[in-house]
Symmetry: C2
Subunit: 204 residues, 2 copies
């Protein structure tokens, strides 16, 4: 039987989360987005707020590197690991555990990198052009029209820095994914249909 | 009616050229690979050999930039343009002309960038893992097993440099494509089927 694991990475406002949720429903497997945060919080004792905002702390690459590598955030333990490092390690462990448990869809959280050696996990990236992302951010997430583009760019930057720091890879490098799609080009529903066609045909 | 234009960018040995050829056959539209080189040669007077090896001259980024920006190659004309620049401009003109003529599939030659503002042109990137690329390069292109990996890396580097110099973009950045696929993950035939499913669903 195919071990149906799918990781979804996505640019903010591309609809990647909704796509992941719909895929999980159609595949009838667990969906890990908020549920992943709950699970990490439960297993590590870190607060959900801290986990949810992990990426955004990497907005400033220099300060993030400094805080992380020097055991910053005022709480480096006797093991010399900073809070950022400890949190990432907890995330690695929980995601590996989830993938071992069986079929699922995981959104974000560097899951593509964490499961890089698990070939049966299909790595997918969803992007969209800026005008599509702005539209979704304003209409569906209620972001302010006057500042939304700037906010989206900040989130992109934070994700790029966070991913680069913890994985040593470039976020959104085509070589890291089995399939990538611009969701604005054919629309969300058709994007989901193409992904399902792809998943049906995978060898693992 | 949909203006069925498809550009295929690809890593060497990923089967992108064969995929493009099969798509063009199935869509019953012209396929531009060698035919593009013939056409550029015909319209510009440049030799086919020169055109075919344009990318590989960018193997050394520094020397390529020097030769190109300083009007090197010993032939900068009164217009101050080097041979590399002139050749790229000719390529831009021929590719735009081809796209205006009607439906087609174009492989390589920065066509994704050249037609970036033509939204009805679907931009696709094909990649594959190194072991798949080595296998194809040895078995189908007859490359030497002992040096093939090194040769593939040189080609990657040349393509990256050439693309960066002429387009100001990063080659293989997911944001430049509507669809990217790892052809080794589901195999060539299934990759073609997924692309055709995608093309059927595009809005343009």
């Amino acid at each position: 039987m195919k071990k149906r694991i799918v990781t979804i990475s996505r640019t903010y406002g591309s609809g990647g989360r909704i796509i992941g949720q719909k895929l999980a429903e159609d595949m009838d497997v667990p969906f890990y987005d908020k549920a992943l945060i709950d699970r990490i919080a439960e297993e590590t004792g870190f607060s959900k707020d801290l986990i949810e905002n992990a990426e955004m702390r990497a907005k400033n690459s220099f300060l993030y590197t400094l805080a992380t590598s020097l055991g910053g955030n005022g709480d480096a333990g006797v093991d010399g690991l900073s809070l950022n490092d400890k949190f990432f390690l907890a995330q690695v462990n929980v995601i590996r555990q989830i993938a071992e448990e069986g079929p699922c869809v995981i959104v974000g959280r560097c899951a593509d990198y964490i499961l890089r050696d698990m070939n049966e996990a299909s790595k997918i990236f969803i992007c969209a052009e800026m005008h599509n992302r702005i539209q979704r951010a304003v209409q569906e997430y209620g972001m302010d029209e006057t500042t939304v583009e700037n906010e989206i760019k900040k989130i992109d930057k934070a994700r790029t820095n966070y991913y680069a720091y913890h994985t040593g890879r470039k976020w959104g490098d085509v070589l890291n994914y089995h399939l990538t799609l611009d969701s604005g080009y054919i629309g969300l529903e058709d994007t989901i249909a193409v992904i399902e066609e792809f998943l049906e045909r995978r060898k693992y």
